[in-house]
Symmetry: C2
Subunit: 483 residues, 2 copies
């Protein structure tokens, strides 16, 4: 128990513990495979290891760090583990982690330009770098939000502002019902955003998909005409490049034509797959995204930048400004011609999130980033090849990026037997500690998702996942589900 004086942690103590933690983190990252990927704790186990109340007197860092290792760490699912393949990779990298450390130390809140000019300007410069890396034209201006959900919410808020300007003052209650179009494959954050914006569940209309689960532009066209005839106000269409479930690609170019004809906002969700646009051979999947009004992609997914770093690009920052700008006197700063982050979104406060991305892009360089992305695509092809060559396994296609969707499919099994078997296989693999997979449903049937993209994943890890799947399949007997 220690008395703490105003002024905070003494410099010597900070230095000592900083060095100890650097050593711990370096060892952790170097040897993350010693941990099971998926935390092997029961609900409530972590809580039970912690005190019920905050300590009355300060505690030594030694005790805090000891509890971090003995209580917190066993409850961590290791997103850094090369066998973490359940969700789209969210693996940081050395320069990104060090960038976060500097961000925490500087601790600026870049709500207005003068509150830290470098935070505002470095964000603009770095997002221009990223834009160029991705082959997007100069018209796009970027901002960083914490998550793609929030970025998408901002894009659709701007779309609502443009499509229903009468709601700005009077609200939606006297406006025609607005509509946002997306396929059933679209990420759940789109429905959340539409609901949050006051458009209700009816505010999102599901557009049918064609082969490969991409949006059918003709169905979009029909839906829009139908809604206009019914007195609804079409606002936006969300096209996804790389859906979460199976990495389907909506035909953005054709969708853009329909959107343009009817004056709809086109939002492209490339939260996961976006970085692949940096590879010339993958560019065809992104055809037409340069016509979008807004694009979201997450460097904290497949660009080795620690969470959170979601980039929203918009063609017309004025649209975000119209939706969110509102300046109180105590934030009037007098600077003309500079960007104030607070005018571009719901949040007033802004972490200096660009610093880590800037460090990642400089450390790896464009070629280095392309090499890692290409490596991951190669690993996915490797796994796809193993699945395709195996009896009693099948693979969902197309899956053009680094997600492999597969299932065990023994001959003669009914659909429900197959579903049960695959969930059993997944649970067995996940309990094994060397790989962590997730599942999805396609046409009501279970498939397993193996998401490659972790910066630490190498060929042996993909082969280990495949071995674990086969081993589990051999042990999970086919049986009828309980009901």
């Amino acid at each position: 128990m220690t008395d703490r004086a105003p002024g905070g942690m003494p410099p010597g103590e900070f230095r000592e513990w900083g060095h100890r933690m650097v050593d711990w983190v370096a060892g952790y990252l170097e040897d993350v495979e010693r941990y099971p990927v998926l935390a092997a704790v029961e609900p409530g186990q972590v809580s039970a290891g912690l005190a019920v109340e905050a300590p009355v007197r300060g505690e030594p860092m030694e005790s805090i760090f000891e509890d971090f290792r003995s209580v917190v760490l066993p409850g961590i699912t290791h997103w850094n583990h090369p066998g973490f393949q359940a969700y789209f990779a969210v693996s940081g990298s050395g320069p990104g982690i060090l960038g976060e450390f500097l961000t925490a130390a500087l601790n600026v809140n870049a709500m207005v330009w003068k509150a830290s000019p470098a935070a505002t300007e470095l964000e603009q410069v770095t997002l221009d770098w990223l834009r160029g890396f991705l082959g997007l034209p100069p018209g796009f201006a970027g901002t960083i939000n914490d998550t793609a959900s929030i970025s998408t919410f901002h894009a659709l808020a701007a779309a609502r502002e443009r499509g229903l300007p009468e709601a700005r003052v009077r609200g939606l209650s006297e406006a025609p019902p607005g509509r946002v179009y997306a396929t059933p494959e679209t990420h759940s954050s789109i429905l959340k955003a539409v609901h949050a914006l006051g458009l209700g569940r009816d505010g999102a209309r599901a557009v049918a998909t064609g082969a490969g689960r991409g949006m059918d532009p003709a169905a979009l066209e029909r839906a829009i005409r139908d809604d206009i005839a019914a007195g609804r106000r079409p606002l936006a269409v969300v096209a996804t490049i790389g859906t979460t479930s199976v990495t389907a690609v909506d035909p953005v170019g054709e969708i853009a034509d329909v959107a343009a004809e009817h004056g709809l906002w086109l939002h492209v969700d490339a939260a996961y797959a976006g970085p692949a646009a940096a590879l010339p051979r993958m560019r065809s999947h992104f055809r037409g995204w340069e016509w979008a009004d807004s694009i979201v992609l997450n460097p904290h997914k497949w660009l080795f930048t620690p969470i959170d770093c979601s980039v929203l690009y918009v063609q017309d920052p004025g649209a975000l400004h119209a939706a969110f700008s509102l300046t109180p006197a105590y934030l009037e700063t007098g600077e003309e011609g500079v960007r104030h982050n607070m005018d571009l979104g719901l949040a007033l406060g802004r972490r200096f999130r660009a610093l880590k991305l800037w460090m990642v892009m400089r450390y790896f360089g464009q070629d280095g980033l392309r090499a890692i992305l290409g490596h991951h695509l190669g690993l996915a092809r490797l796994l796809a090849g193993l699945v395709d060559a195996a009896a009693d396994w099948e693979r969902w296609r197309p899956s053009p990026f680094s997600l492999v969707v597969l299932r065990h499919s023994p001959p003669g099994a009914s659909a429900s037997e197959r579903d049960t078997a695959n969930l059993g296989i997944m649970n067995r693999v996940n309990a094994g500690g060397t790989a962590f997979l997730s599942h999805t449903e396609i046409d009501g049937e279970v498939w397993l998702r193996c998401a490659i993209g972790n910066i630490h994943t190498m060929e042996q890890h993909v082969r280990a996942t495949w071995a674990a799947l086969q081993e589990a399949a051999g042990r999970v007997r086919l049986r009828q589900p309980a009901n």
Copy 2:
């Protein structure tokens, strides 16, 4: 120029640069007063020092760090500087910075429980600790968002869901116009949230204030009755404890009575002042906040936790769940009785933001945190006393927390002369490099804000700010404004 192999930064390089950055950060924090508080750069100056495109090949950390120091750092406004008194203190502390470093290294995304059980459970435990520290009853459940703006948005989304349930499916377009009540002193994020929720500018109704700029409960009552008679649907009232402009306190207890009578959601904005509730002698300002449906307070403001850490407490987590829950198949995890953070808000992804707060609360302990808060209140009283004792200066009252609102007020000056003089004084002080202040307007007149609460601020810094103000006042000649 370096070739980067897949796998990321080699462990030895991470270790080397981690140690170098710890030394740099320790030195920076120890000697932050060597920098001017407010960045002395022109708009565009930081950008001009950076390359136009991302490097093609990777660069050595040495070059990156060199540019951080020579290009980025001069553009940083130093929120750590003890003379930073412009906005409510957002000063981190040693244990908080180290907590952020561990968070970045673990890099978990706690969207569902199993994605890192410890991240979900540590958040619940730590926010229970904080709740107890603040004297709030056990009924409140907490979640962490990035900013108070986002927390408030969530609270008002839950209020809309409760007050306009018919909008859940059909949207607001056939619902009666909803209304949220707040005073003109309320933070701009409330208006932003109301607008984002589809309620329009008319969705917020300004309620008159009484003495000290607190909300007049009788005026609230009249406004609600008036709106009901006009066919509007009252949804929520926002009461603030410590407004941004002058730290006014709305009478929460009386407002709670009115809200309860009409079934309104009561949201309490204590984003800045909340931590003061931990001091028994300050508890009177918080009377009635235990009746709120939701409360926001920011440990990243006055609780020495690096940005971003905004806590939203709600009495009924089911209300957030109703507004935001929506689970796609690939996120169905099967666990019963555990919390999934994604169900409690717009964002699917979640940084492990609780770790730093847990480390701060353990390191300082409840007594240590109370000592620092008490120290800051004492510094504010010291400055208030200096202002009150000085000829030609006046102070806005009441200001019960750690913000001092003051102005130079020489006899015989007109209101516009006084405004011009005070803006001149502020600009002169800010350009001096030892203090950074902001201004606000009260009844259209300029006042200066001196916000104490930085963990590094000691008596000599407050005296230095006061000396700088007096010096500036002596040099800024009264003159008519240009128009």
